[in-house]
């Protein structure tokens, strides 16, 4: 096994994919600097810099995919999808159905997400539940370098549109760009195991829609994804000292959601907390509650630690609005008392 940083793993897997498939190209704002190593290896025909015109280049990505290419469209921050949502909402997601199942859209949207570094409510959202709400879109959120590389390959190999979200606390270059700006006197709560870790010698894809049990336990299931799985693991360690045995499930995919893994784990523990950095209402956590209700797994205790409000600029308030270890601990202890 070799060790890599999160962003390094994405780049390494992407190089692997682009080397093997000449139809893969990147397009987006500032990619000549953000992806300079890919530009150096594959040239500007395959690493295409654009103007700030998300609605146009994402829309163009949809039809480039329909024409047989494998576009990876970069939306710098998922917050900026707002100006281009039509391409996903009304086109990428629907064309397979509209064409009677005859025309698919093998598009990857690569974008950064998440908060915890003081950038305020227009730059730190997660929005994966909001996107997964649309039938026809797949949404994947890796939590560590190995998954980051492998899941990117899964996204690229998929014949359908996949939104691939990289968390800014895990990707060192994003944190440097948006958080520290080269300063050495500011620091953020970066989960080490998410930022750096072992990766396979040879990149291979992971199955689409399969969750990953990161820790086995009997008393409580913590269901999470992205940076929050590391908050869950930290909470699970602390709870184990109180003899509370915690299972941590990393969903990896918001859509398709691994129902089976959720049901299996919760059937065992009968207590579940969804820890989701995305907004609480009408999202992933509610969807999981609905699945458990539909499966009649009862009685169970259900709770959620999510983002309930617009993310405030103030760092202290921000840390409390986003899921954190203390919020998980408080709820878990309430369940067991």
């Amino acid at each position: 096994m070799r060790k890599m940083e999160f962003a390094e793993a994405i780049e390494s897997a992407l190089k692997h994919a682009m080397t093997n498939d000449p139809d893969i190209f990147l397009m987006g704002e500032d990619v000549h600097t953000l992806r300079i190593n890919l530009l150096a290896q594959f040239g500007k025909e395959r690493v295409i810099s654009t103007s700030i015109s998300e609605s146009a280049f994402l829309g163009a990505g949809v039809t480039a995919a329909m024409a047989g290419l494998r576009p990876i469209i970069e939306i710098m921050l998922i917050d900026f999808i707002g100006v281009a949502i039509d391409a996903l909402l009304n086109h990428a997601s629907k064309i397979l159905t509209f064409s009677g199942g005859k025309w698919n859209v093998p598009l990857v949207v690569r974008t950064s997400c998440g908060g915890g570094y003081g950038d305020g409510g227009q730059h730190e959202q997660s929005l994966w539940g909001w996107l997964a709400h649309i039938p026809g879109l797949h949404v994947v959120v890796p939590s560590n370098p190995s998954d980051a590389g492998q899941l990117l390959l899964s996204a690229i190999e998929s014949d359908h549109p996949v939104i691939y979200l990289e968390h800014k606390l895990l990707a060192d270059y994003w944190l440097d760009y948006m958080g520290t700006g080269g300063r050495e006197n500011v620091s953020f709560d970066v989960p080490e195991k998410g930022a750096i870790g072992e990766v396979p010698e040879k990149w291979e894809s992971l199955p689409i829609g399969k969750a990953n049990i990161l820790r086995e336990g009997d008393d409580i299931t913590l269901i999470s994804l992205g940076v929050s799985v590391h908050r869950c693991l930290e909470a699970a360690n602390i709870l184990s000292e109180d003899e509370i045995s915690v299972e941590v499930l990393d969903l990896r995919w918001v859509s398709p959601l691994d129902k089976e893994a959720i049901i299996t784990s919760v059937s065992k523990t009968k207590r579940v907390i969804v820890v989701d950095e995305d907004y609480m209402r009408f999202g992933l956590s509610g969807e999981i509650a609905a699945i458990l209700a539909e499966e009649n797994i009862s009685p169970i205790q259900f709770g959620r630690v999510c983002t309930e409000h617009t993310i405030p600029f103030n760092r202290h308030l921000e840390d409390n609005v986003l899921p954190n270890v203390n919020r998980i601990l408080a709820l878990a202890r309430k369940f067991k008392s």
């Binding site: 530009l39 290896q41 146009a56 003081g118 958080g179 700006g181 760092r315």
Partner: protein, 349 residues
């Protein structure tokens, strides 16, 4: 051309210097790590903001982009409340919830946004309200040339033109969209594009506050008349700090060893990787980026600095300028000391 009164020139100077000095303090706070996240400054575009705001009257609305400090300060927002906001303090302008990219002041009809191009629709809505309410007020949209390729801004130009709305569109053109040269990703000529919407448009040297003032002086009657029409000004400028504090391209110039050292290893590997594009194409792609980094250096130059420029051209006002500087520095220093003391006291509690 209207002859500018000395008083107006001094007012412009004071507005520009107040904004500049405050942003220097902000830079220090950011460098010390007191301010989290990104920090986009308006240093270098003060002449544009001052030249426009000098013509505004109470009730006019301003929609800014992510460089909102200069317009907020020059429109009279309390400096202490701004500094506290940048620090995320509950006593800040927006209770510490917005931060520098999301400043709002309801009383003065000032908005800002971190979404590129969004000041277009924002100003159109304010202008629609003034027309609806039959006031003489106008709305100003400030945005960079990079947003001129964003759909919502182009749609706003059409909406303002077709509905005859009093919107003053101010394009602050530094030819950089983060690390992209705007002219390399823009088709045609911006002014032609704007005129295509039926909007009167002109160019001005945005480092010359008197030229900006004159240009807006010409535009204002068209905006405030009974049947108004939008107006567009493209004003050139230079951002000494690049896109934001800690700009990655400028860092190459400020600490080349550290920054280039980190990049060259992976870059060389990529260029020489045994698989990939044709070697000549790879090398040309990389040399384009290196040329880009080299070009970024020009931003560090103060040769187009609006404040220095006014000092150079109006040497007869030297003494008054010096007095203004002293007054502004004294005022802002005392505010920033007060703010820092407050923050430090609270931290020690």
């Amino acid at each position: 051309m209207t002859l500018m009164r000395e008083k107006t020139i001094l007012e412009l100077y004071e507005a520009m210097y107040t904004s500049r000095y405050l942003e220097k303090i902000v830079t220090q706070l950011w460098e010390k790590g007191n301010i989290y996240g990104e920090m986009h400054l308006g240093i270098g575009e003060e002449a544009i903001i001052a030249g426009v705001l000098s013509h505004l009257i109470p009730g006019d609305a301003i929609s800014t982009d992510h460089r909102s400090t200069p317009p907020f300060v020059m429109r009279g927002v309390d400096i202490e409340s701004l500094l506290l906001e940048f620090l995320g303090h509950p006593k800040g302008l927006c209770s510490g919830l917005g931060g520098h990219m999301h400043l709002f002041c309801k009383e003065l009809l000032l908005t800002s946004s971190g979404i590129v191009g969004s000041s277009g629709p924002s100003a159109v809505g304010f202008a629609l309200a003034t027309k609806y309410q039959k006031t003489k007020n106008i709305a100003v949209a400030f945005f960079g040339e990079g947003s001129m390729n964003q759909g919502m801004l182009l749609e706003s130009l059409n909406l303002a033109s077709s509905l005859n709305l009093p919107v003053l569109f101010i394009c602050k053109d530094n030819n950089w969209a983060i690390t992209t040269r705007s002219n390399e990703v823009t088709g045609g000529v911006l002014l032609d594009r704007v005129r295509g919407f039926g909007i009167e448009a002109r160019e001005v040297d945005g480092s010359d506050c008197m030229a900006v003032w004159q240009a807006v002086e010409t535009a204002i009657p068209r905006l405030r008349k009974r049947n108004p029409a939008p107006y567009f000004i493209q004003a050139s400028c230079t951002h000494n700090e690049g896109h934001f504090l800690g700009d990655p391209l400028l860092r190459f110039h400020r600490s080349p060893k550290k920054e280039l050292g980190a990049v060259t290893g992976p870059l060389t590997k990529s260029v020489l990787h045994y698989k990939g594009g044709r070697l000549d194409k790879r090398i040309s792609s990389v040399s384009n980026v290196l040329a880009l980094i080299a070009k970024a250096r020009a931003q560090l130059s103060f040769s187009n600095d609006p404040i220095r420029r006014l000092e150079k051209t109006q040497t007869h006002l030297k003494d008054q300028f010096a007095q203004i500087k002293l007054k502004v520095e004294k005022k802002i220093n005392s505010i920033s000391e007060r703010v820092l003391n407050l923050v430090q006291e609270e931290a020690s509690l």
